[in-house]
């Protein structure tokens, strides 16, 4: 296949809007090839989008679907000649998830929270998400064995356990959610800061973060530790992000702070909420190895779902909306609460400014990734709207004029003049996240890269529309989307890591005593990854 005459943005190869031809053969980008020609004259050619934080599969996501028939009713999706039926809206069914990602040119997506005990469920759903390559981050920040080995200071056992758990769950990265706080939630409590104790274990969130970062780097995992910080969603607690970043960077680790918007709150309470994006952005700017994704708010319906049980309970108490809680033995918790972001709500308006502010204040686009923490701050298929806000000050001003007026005085957003270039957009939506995930064949269009290509008809007066419906999407060398419609159902690979590590001998006794499944029935069998690829460590 030849993609002819396109305007190519390929940041990893230093290409900034050059007219050139691309050649595809055997699912890869090659030097020279023959075959079908796509005339990309006047079109924008980018690597396929890479989402490194989304909630698309697993028990928590499916509870979000189950509890919201009213959400699906708004968004029925009929079957077509090539696609299956399903429903949206905020938590789409698996097939619809795949189709919608592909339609906007995304070809790789990571599920950001996999409980080890229900990892099979995550993989079952990933198997039913077409179009994209996918993977899942294994939750570890409240794991019994992790906290036990950290309390003992036994780094060898910790490293072994972490390595083993990634293999057992077929996971991609280490995910921490409110480290220590979720274990306390299992007694109805939380932690208040990085140096609070976890009940019965005696360890602190800071120690858990440091320990897992150490294991992460010792194992040479491709992605940094992926952290949902303590005290998320709490006015005045932005300092926890800053401290968390500094703690990890000080010991030479890399750290990714996820959905940073939800943690960058100043003020003293909800009435005085203000943006602390400048402070947080400063910390990211000055810390080598620190990155973040936005968790950008989209006004409208959302379904909040996190592994942060105590936070979800608080959100339920704040809103009175329906609330699912789901605690998993020895490992994790989760909660789900539907939520509506309203432009005329001061809190919501301030939250909206924060994500954009972070994106505009972090100087190096390689340190920022575009997300909405789907479906927490809004559905992923609104990424193009975020792109428009980032590329156009005018678009931001228009939205600012429609939201609660006081938001403008609680955020620096109105004063920010920066507008993202197409090159920078290509960084924060594909090249950056691919590099951050350690996916060497993704996020770029150099020879040897996976032939995952998104081609857009870019119209400056409709940035959102341009990126919402790709003109063509090529996945593994096949045209799967044409003129914004899925024309071919394609099955991607599950990406996972296989670091060294054996389950420590003493863990087996705890397993027998405290779990309700046998150790032999715990690891996810190969049957759950019909197409997969191990991404190398080290």
């Amino acid at each position: 296949m030849i993609i002819k005459n396109g305007t190519v943005y390929d940041p990893l190869n230093g290409i900034k809007g050059e007219k050139m031809d691309l050649f595809i053969e055997g699912g890869r980008i090659v030097e020279e090839a023959k075959g079908e020609v796509i005339d990309a004259s006047g079109l924008l050619v980018l690597p396929g989008g890479v989402d490194l934080h989304s909630h698309i599969a697993g028990s928590k996501v499916n509870l979000g679907r189950l509890m919201r028939p009213e959400d699906h009713r708004k968004d029925p999706v009929p079957a077509t000649e090539v696609t299956r039926s399903g429903t949206g809206y905020t938590v789409p069914t698996t097939y619809v998830t795949g189709y919608r990602y592909a339609t906007m040119g995304y070809t790789t997506v990571m599920e950001a929270a996999m409980p080890p005990l229900t990892a099979r469920h995550v993989h079952e759903e990933l198997c039913d998400i077409p179009m994209v390559d996918k993977g899942a981050f294994t939750l570890m920040g409240n794991n019994h064995f992790v906290m036990k080995y950290i309390a003992e200071g036994n780094w060898e056992k910790l490293r072994n356990y972490v390595g083993w758990l990634l293999k057992a769950t077929k996971g991609y990265a280490i995910k921490l959610v409110n480290p220590g706080g979720v274990e306390n939630w299992k007694w109805g409590k939380n932690v208040e800061g990085l140096d609070d104790k976890v009940e019965n274990y005696g360890v602190t969130p800071r120690e858990i973060i440091k320990g897992l970062s150490r294991a992460n780097e010792e194992l040479g995992l491709p992605h940094p530790i992926h952290v949902h910080c303590n005290k998320l969603g709490t006015p005045g607690k932005f300092g926890i992000v800053v401290e968390t970043v500094e703690t990890v960077v000080a010991q030479g680790g890399r750290i990714h702070i996820t959905h940073v918007q939800f943690n960058s709150y100043g003020g003293e309470d909800w009435a005085t909420l203000s943006s602390a994006a400048p402070e947080v952005a400063k910390a990211i700017n000055r810390s080598p190895g620190a990155t973040c994704d936005l968790g950008q708010v989209i006004f409208g319906e959302a379904t909040t779902m996190t592994g942060d049980g105590p936070w979800q309970h608080r959100l339920f108490k704040l809103t009175g909306n329906k609330w699912y809680n789901s605690d998993v033995e020895l490992e994790v918790g989760a909660g789900i609460v539907p939520y509506t972001f309203k432009p005329k709500s001061l809190v919501n308006a301030v939250q909206w400014t924060i994500g954009l502010e972070v994106a505009l204040l972090v100087e190096d686009p390689w340190k920022v990734v575009l997300t909405t923490d789907h479906p927490n701050a809004g559905p992923f298929y609104y990424y193009p709207r975020v792109i428009e806000w980032l590329m156009s000050r005018k678009a931001r001003e228009k939205t600012l004029s429609e939201v609660h007026k006081a938001a403008s005085s609680r955020s620096t957003l109105p004063s920010l003049e920066r507008e993202y270039s197409l090159y920078e957009i290509a960084v924060i939506t594909r090249a950056g996240p691919a590099r951050l995930l350690g996916l060497r064949r993704k996020g770029h269009l150099g020879v040897g890269a996976d032939a995952d290509v998104a081609i857009y008809e870019f119209r400056e007066d409709d940035v959102e529309g341009s990126f919402s419906r790709a003109k063509y999407v090529i996945k593994d060398g096949e045209i799967v989307v044409k003129d914004g419609r899925v024309v071919r159902e394609h099955w991607g690979r599950t990406l996972w890591v296989s670091p060294p590590g054996e389950l420590p001998e003493d863990a087996k006794a705890d397993f027998e005593k405290y779990y309700t499944v046998s150790l032999e029935n715990y690891p996810v069998e190969p049957e759950y990854l019909p197409k997969s690829e191990v991404i190398p460590c080290g």
Partner: protein, 419 residues
């Protein structure tokens, strides 16, 4: 002879995964750790098997599959029902088949914990996995359920007697059974509370009132002091849980009973840690809900006649469709509605072309136009099942089967329906 360990039991929602099964020459000789029902399922698995038939006449598999496909192709409004006693791949294909034929698709949860789903769709639920209970619970309430008869190893493995991380067995847990009658379960617990027939909602609401400090004189036949005592006990425990069953979902009030229970537990989280869990019956009825939900957005009672999934319990649920005589063909997969539906609904099944895919002779096979025998999931075929708390486990294939797995049969029907 081989002794297989870590076998997952494909009977009830407990999905016990510590069974040991002795196999010789493709025959199951014995089981260890299994409850009486499970043992019966393993040891009798080869008995009473269905044969492929069309109109009562024994035929080859091909002919049975072809006839099934023909019926579904020609039907205006087929019903696909069951799904709960098979593995998740077969459940996926049942969804596909429903989509292709514009069918109504329902699983057995509509007659067990459908009302639980309806209530959770109103207010959510505070749930956990069973190990949380084993490790932490100091108060266990069985409400309108009878694990001693229906989930036999539940109290021993998960809820009442096991030693866990912070609880060393039964003496460190206070247990209560609330029901309309004393059963074997009542004998296992510290306290039995008899609720008057059909008045669970009243008692649950009284508990919510008592929690907030209102005085309750009497509720559902339970004296005020006893209501207050239970409310205080719930408030004062460190980690409490309510397990509930058909006593709440099937009796007067149905989903409203569950709604009251879910809200009671929600309220309790203002004071302490409290959770709630439905006692799911069929070994993979949870899986049926999960699979339907991730593929359609809805857990049961889904209709595809518009080309996309539409949800409406009461309209597209099997008992209703059959009672009103609306469907003109049916495919029953891995369940036996003739045995377990009200007879008034069963009659319509007998009057339309019904296809049954089932390992065994069932009462529904006696009414069926087409019977397609299948391998037993979890004994003769592997796959995934979801425990009552949502934990997925891998079912094992222990012995060979002369029959095809459900997923294979459905796959062949789909090929022919699509053709």
């Amino acid at each position: 002879m081989a002794l297989l360990k870590g076998v997952v039991c494909p009977f009830c929602g407990c999905l016990c995964d510590d069974l040991e099964v002795e196999v010789q020459d493709g025959k199951i000789l014995s089981t260890r750790n299994a409850c009486p029902v499970s043992r019966s399922k393993f040891l009798s698995h080869a008995e009473d098997r269905a044969r492929p038939t069309v109109g009562g006449r024994e035929v080859g598999m091909e002919e049975a599959v072809e006839e099934a496909a023909r019926i579904l192709r020609e039907a205006d409004f087929p019903l696909i029902y069951g799904l709960s006693s098979t593995e998740s791949d077969a459940q996926r294909l049942a969804v596909r088949l429903a989509e292709l034929t514009g069918a109504s698709l329902d699983n057995t949860s509509s007659t067990c914990h459908g009302p639980t789903v309806l209530a959770a769709q109103e207010c959510g639920a505070v749930k956990c996995t069973l190990g949380e209970v084993k490790n932490r619970a100091d108060l266990v309430v069985f409400w309108g359920c009878n694990p001693a008869e229906a989930h036999i190893r539940h109290p021993v493995r998960y809820s009442l007697t096991p030693a866990g991380m912070y609880r060393q067995g039964k003496k460190e847990r206070f247990s209560v059974h609330v029901d309309v009658r004393e059963t074997r379960t009542s004998k296992m617990v510290n306290q039995f509370i008899k609720v008057e027939e059909g008045k669970d909602y009243e008692l649950l609401s009284a508990l919510r009132a008592a929690l907030r400090g209102y005085e309750v004189k009497e509720a559902a036949g339970v004296p005020g002091e006893k209501v207050k005592e239970l409310a205080e006990r719930m408030k004062g425990c460190k980690f409490g849980i309510i397990f509930f069953g058909m006593g709440l979902t099937m009796s007067k009030g149905k989903n409203l009973n569950i709604d009251a229970a879910l809200r009671l537990v929600r309220d309790l989280n203002d004071y302490t840690k409290f959770l709630i869990m439905p006692m799911r019956g069929h070994f993979n009825v949870s899986g049926a809900n999960e699979v339907l939900t991730w593929l359609t957005g809805y857990p049961f009672a889904v209709n595809f006649s518009r080309g996309y999934p539409v949800y409406n319990p009461g309209e597209f649920s099997a008992v209703d469709l059959l009672y009103r005589g609306e469907c003109d063909a049916a495919l029953i997969l891995a369940s036996d509605p003739a045995a377990h539906f009200p007879a008034r609904s069963v009659r319509h099944l007998a009057s339309i072309p019904t296809i049954v895919i089932d390992p065994k002779v069932s009462l529904t096979t006696k009414l069926a136009r087409v019977v397609i025998p299948s391998a037993i999931a979890g004994i003769e075929c592997d796959g995934t099942a979801y425990r009552m708390d949502g934990v997925p486990l891998r079912l094992k294939k222990i012995v060979e089967s002369p029959y095809l797995p459900d997923r294979e049969i459905l796959g062949r029907i789909i090929e022919r329906v699509g053709a």
